[in-house]
Amino acid sequence: MSPTHSPDSFDSSAADERRATIERDAALVRRVRDGDTAAFDEIVKAYMRPVFQVAYRVVGHREDAEDLVQDCFLAAFQYLDSYDVDRPFGPWITRIVLNRGANLRRSRARRATEPETDAVSPAPSALDETTRAEARAKLEEVMATLNERQRMIVTMFDVDGMTSTEIGERLELAPGTVRWHLHEARRVLRAALARFIEDEP
């Protein structure tokens, strides 16, 4: 086995990468605080995609997600003085997305439940349209009973295929905490969606 492929070296390499990212972001944030607005453009470019992913999962609509991305970067810029440069920037802005997204979703609840017309087509469904609409309504209802963190964790894990470690890094949570929230969210979802899950072949 090559030393470069051992689990320890992967951990070490990931830790180095995280450290480098924190240092890069800290340098950019310091430049912004010194009045160099262009440095914030670099931050936007670096985090735009992951922020959009979270925003889309929160509001469920592409245009709303884009608006939310813009709103969150503006908020981040405005409150940049409160950001601790020794911590990763990603989880900080993700928290902003979750907080602001929850408000946006509540205010646009009706639009968010409508299916995305310009999104990439989902895989062919085993459910007929009526059952699918029912299942979507039920999902919306039960998702509303979960807290923002549980909703995001179960979506990232079961829909987007992320690992608990990746989710933990994204949300700055311990993997154990992620797994606990995932367990709770799945328990609620399984109970509420049992009929639709059993209907699937």
């Binding site: 086995m1 030393p3 813009q70 987007d160 899950i197």
Partner: protein, 135 residues
């Protein structure tokens, strides 16, 4: 790294939760994928950047913001000043000639005493005129 570490790493039970294909499949079906390809990333970055620059207010931004109110206010103030000035000239016509005549006397080389006398005379006349006017 030792073999012991490798052995432990390879055989340790993972804490990663198992995938649930039925629940995951249903959720994916209902939520759909994230439309990453549908987003114009350059345009979005441009929007964010423009919004941030618009949020910052340079000094000319304040001028720009206040010009709609400031211009009518300045015009009104100018009009009021002109009206008061005209009114002042109409009610005290002698005031118009006081200052220029005194200046011309001084410039023409009149002795300082004469200029002072002329000035006091002008002031006295204006005062007398005013008393007459009021009476």
């Amino acid at each position: 790294m030792t073999d012991l570490h490798l052995h432990r790493g390879a055989s340790a039970p993972t804490d990663e939760p198992r995938r649930d294909p039925r629940l995951g499949g249903l959720l994916r079906d209902l939520m759909g994928p994230i439309p990453m390809r549908e987003v114009n990333w350059d345009a979005l970055a441009g929007r964010v950047s423009a919004a941030i620059r618009a949020r910052q207010t340079p000094w000319w931004g304040y001028v720009d913001r206040w010009q709609r109110r400031a211009i009518p206010l300045a015009l009104a103030a100018g009009l009021l000043s002109a009206t008061l000035l005209v009114h002042s000239w109409l009610t005290h016509p002698e005031a118009l000639i006081t200052a220029p005549d005194m200046v011309s006397a001084v410039v023409a080389g009149a002795p300082a005493e004469d200029a002072a006398t002329f000035f006091s005379h002008s002031v006295t006349s204006a005062a007398a005129y005013r008393v007459d006017f009021l009476e």
